[in-house]
Amino acid sequence: MSRLDAGLSRRHLIGVGAGAAAAGLVAGAGGAYAAGLGHDDAIASAAVAAGSDQVVPFRGAHQAGIITPAQDRMHFVALDVVTKDPRELRELLMAWTGAAERMVAGAEAAPGGVIGGGPHKAPADTGEAFDLDASNLTITIGYGPALFDGRFGLAGRKPSPLRELPGFVGDDLDPARSGGDLCIQACANDPQVAVHAVRNLVRLGFGTVSVRWSQLGFGRTSATTRTQTTPRNLFGFKDGTANIRAEDTEALDRHVWVQPADVTGSAAWLAGGSYLVARRIRMHVEVWDRSTLQEQQDVIGRDKGEGAPLGQQSELDPVDFDAKGADGRPAIPMDAHVRLAHESRLGGIRILRRGYNFTDGSDGLGHLDAGLFFVAFMRDPHEQFVPMQRALAARDALSEYIEHTGSGLFACPPGLDDGDDWGRQLFG
């Protein structure tokens, strides 16, 4: 759809790209990718030319990819830092900023990256997005608790809520799908654009970082603006109806954005940022599919067709936990997911959900290895996600059909000002 009437593909941005960064060499971490940051008129004009519905601004008060209208596809990657040299990490973060800003604008990862380097060099851009437009790509970076363990002189800058999540009842976490020193969330409407972004950033990082785990998501499971319709998860239900939306600025400040007062002193770099909690939730879809419609609706607490809370008519009707069914019992069962996850039951706790459906092939036993890659943003994971998940893990009727198999916690810094980069922002 948008591809046809889209503005410009990367291929057409070659000329722009060549002028965007001063030097055209692929100089590895800290090299030419970092050149020309911020005051990059060429990139800005390319973004305008490509059509505003295709390009999400890279810079601003907050990082893109949080309250940005949820795109259709996601490639999420968690990485470990393998270098011992903080300067290398800082230079990589600077190089990533440059490459990310270019790719988000619909340009190649480096100027002339696909073919401009000539026949004797390995191309600096991997090329699979050459003919594709920006596709609403957002690239969001986050830092895990382990990054602040002292290896890189960052221990003093660690925000106190950035500490590992506790275990929850029923967890079956795979260490190979959990944790990480940092993460990159790439979302786009075209999966190839998202994969291209991650692949090129990972490539810039060889020798400095190493991929720990990654996850592809193929369908958004949340609406993050009032104009987006609520999508369905792999259980076939509308999900995230009660999500915080981009328009709810007051709720965002209260529940999503880290406030200046939350992070004083050397952790102040995180003000305006947000914590990202990722959970790979395997859904036992075959078992679920054998449940009756009534069972399914009772587990969720909403009807399957409309997404209305049980006892109500339409999706956005307020949830009434006191409503009784014809049999005199609560219309919404006491262990229904909606009841346990509702803010009224959790002391007003809310989070911004931004998850994706996933299918990683099959499990060797004839079942889909599928589920929900839960991603949520919040102001304090230990005040929000932890109590919420504790309440759910212990009692949620849904627990019978799901299993948490991966977990990650990351602090996503605020947006970048003109001329700033992720390296300076983190290291100061």
């Binding site: 026949p119 004797h120 060889f206 190493s210």
Partner: protein
């Protein structure tokens, strides 16, 4: 080698051929005029020749042990005989017909082609026991090696082929050795790993004056990452040689892979520097 024998061998030959064609006549002229690149080619051809001699010597030892049915001695000689081969693998592989006969693996031998060479004898020694035709296979291996040694010693290389070879050797590690596929019966993959890396380093050593002049920063990075990879390999050295691939944990394999990736990216930039006028 990883994929099907003949296409892969052709692919390797093609890489060398395209590398040669990729340079215009002008490039060649310029390269020919730079005494440093000429010297680099000479030095590397000398290295290839030296390794070819060693290959012949060590293969003879291996073959002799097989034919004498001295299994333990043959097993000990096997990874050592492969060493020089692995160091000059891209050159050796460029002789498309000989490579599958010497280094072919059972699952990638094409229909109508016999499974011969190092890996057939590896399977005999470690899995099946020596077979009635093992001695004949050993004789043929030696004859093939004699032929490839003669060809390798006469090979004339272009500067851009050197750079391609440095990268190709690391590609071999990434696709065959780090996965434990190469020596699936003996599990002596780390020997081959080490020799591929040494072969790649020999190219960089030959090109050192060129790189030093044109991109000293890249050379520093390459040297540091060779050292880091060597340090990872050293962790698995034993008094006899290297630990078996199967004794490595998943985390240990990943550490090797991380160090290999870290080296492979800057090595991939060498060709651009060598080609630059």
């Amino acid at each position: 080698m990883r994929t099907s024998l003949v296409p892969a061998a052709l692919g390797a030959a093609l890489v060398l051929a395209t590398a040669a064609c990729g340079s215009s006549g002008d490039d060649r002229a310029v390269q020919a005029l730079d005494p440093r690149t000429t010297a680099a080619v000479e030095q590397y051809e000398g290295f290839v020749s030296e390794q070819a001699d060693q290959l012949l010597e060590r293969t003879t030892t291996f073959v002799t042990a097989v034919k004498a049915r001295e299994v333990e001695a043959a097993k000990a000689a096997y990874p050592l005989a492969r060493g020089p081969w692995e160091r000059i693998e891209p050159v050796a592989e460029s002789f498309g017909d000989l490579d599958p006969r010497i280094d072919g693996r059972e699952d990638v031998v094409e229909d109508g082609q016999e499974f011969t060479g190092f890996h057939r004898l590896e399977k005999d020694l470690w899995v099946d026991g020596l077979q009635p035709d093992s001695a004949a296979v050993a004789d043929r291996l030696l004859a093939d090696v004699v032929e490839i040694v003669a060809r390798a010693k006469a090979v004339e290389l272009a500067p851009d082929q050197l750079a391609g070879g440095a990268k190709g050797l690391l590609d071999e590690v990434a696709t065959g050795k780090i996965t434990g596929e190469e020596d699936r019966y003996s599990h002596t993959d780390l020997y081959d790993f080490d020799e591929n890396v040494k072969g790649s380093k020999a190219v960089v050593d030959a090109l050192r004056p060129v790189l030093q002049e044109r991109d000293p920063q890249l050379l520093t990075e390459v040297d540091a990452r060779f050292a880091a990879l060597d340090a990872e390999l050293e962790k698995h050295r034993t008094d006899k040689g290297f630990a078996l691939y199967t004794s490595l944990s998943k985390d240990e394999v990943k550490e090797l892979s991380v160090a290999l990736d870290a080296l492979s990216e800057p090595i991939a930039r060498v060709s651009g520097v060598v080609a630059a006028k």
